[in-house]
Symmetry: C2
Subunit: 147 residues, 2 copies
Amino acid sequence: MSHNTKDIHSIFSQYLSEQNLRMTTQRELILKTFCKQKKHVTAEQLYEILKKADPTIGHATVYRTMKLLTEAGIARELNFGEGSIRYEPDTSKEHHDHLVCVKCGENIEFLDEEIENLQKRVVSKYGYQLVDHSLNLYGICPKCQKG
Amino acid sequence: MSHNTKDIHSIFSQYLSEQNLRMTTQRELILKTFCKQKKHVTAEQLYEILKKADPTIGHATVYRTMKLLTEAGIARELNFGEGSIRYEPDTSKEHHDHLVCVKCGENIEFLDEEIENLQKRVVSKYGYQLVDHSLNLYGICPKCQKG
DNA sequence: TTGATATTGATAATGAGTTTCATTCGCTGT
DNA sequence: ACAGCGAATGAAACTCATTATCAATATCAA
């Protein structure tokens, strides 16, 4: 258990006030709902879920808020080349990469220190200053191999 | 020098005839123009370049042809999370990863055997069958660090 | 409570890419 | 060379994810 919802709420509140932005009922609801998700969701999927709790919520508000959560370090953007961005909670400070099943979409998070270190080696070899990186492995999971 | 244009042209021709598709003047022009590019281009950028040679060429034709070139193993799709797909020549059989400067877009291709092997290890650890993978490192290049 | 201003939701707009469809083109058989 | 059939093209409409606009509303510090 890294963070509970209360922690995250105050992290967000703090981020907002630092930026002279306001905590609103919509932002609270979006944050709470996002944190409840077990899978990586797109903004669109989250919007669909949110509509059940608040049918008046706007499309744009969800997209805007996910941007904010990303900036606040609460969410992280994932791009699996599907044409839309997925979000995962960024509560764990630990970075990790993704192993995605191309059949069923199952998604495994992994961390390999050796790979991480080798990446740093490559970057410094070229004199770059590392900002970010994304490693996605695409494969067929054991279940789908049988099916 | 791995392939010259003539080789690639016949690879494409062969692919097309295998699929009962036809070589056309547009496809020839697109192939030729794509091969001339030194940087990874998006379909849109290529379309802009192509219009100079043939102002009547259609938007859709470029997109369709890049799809075909990808299927034929002549082009490879790159996704740097910019919202559009870039294409690189896939003439070298060798796989490589990318180190991209987030400021100027400079793009270095690298291959690290150790990283490749470690990836395979991760995949097999979870019982997956590897289909594809993408590793992109984002950083600031030496030039942009000074500027 | 009030006022300045951030936020919202509806809607229009954007940008990448795809689909539709009537017209044109490439190829194969004559 | 010619006809005919199916593939290919370009224009335009469409999709889908996301962003911008803007009038109405909500937040919060004073």
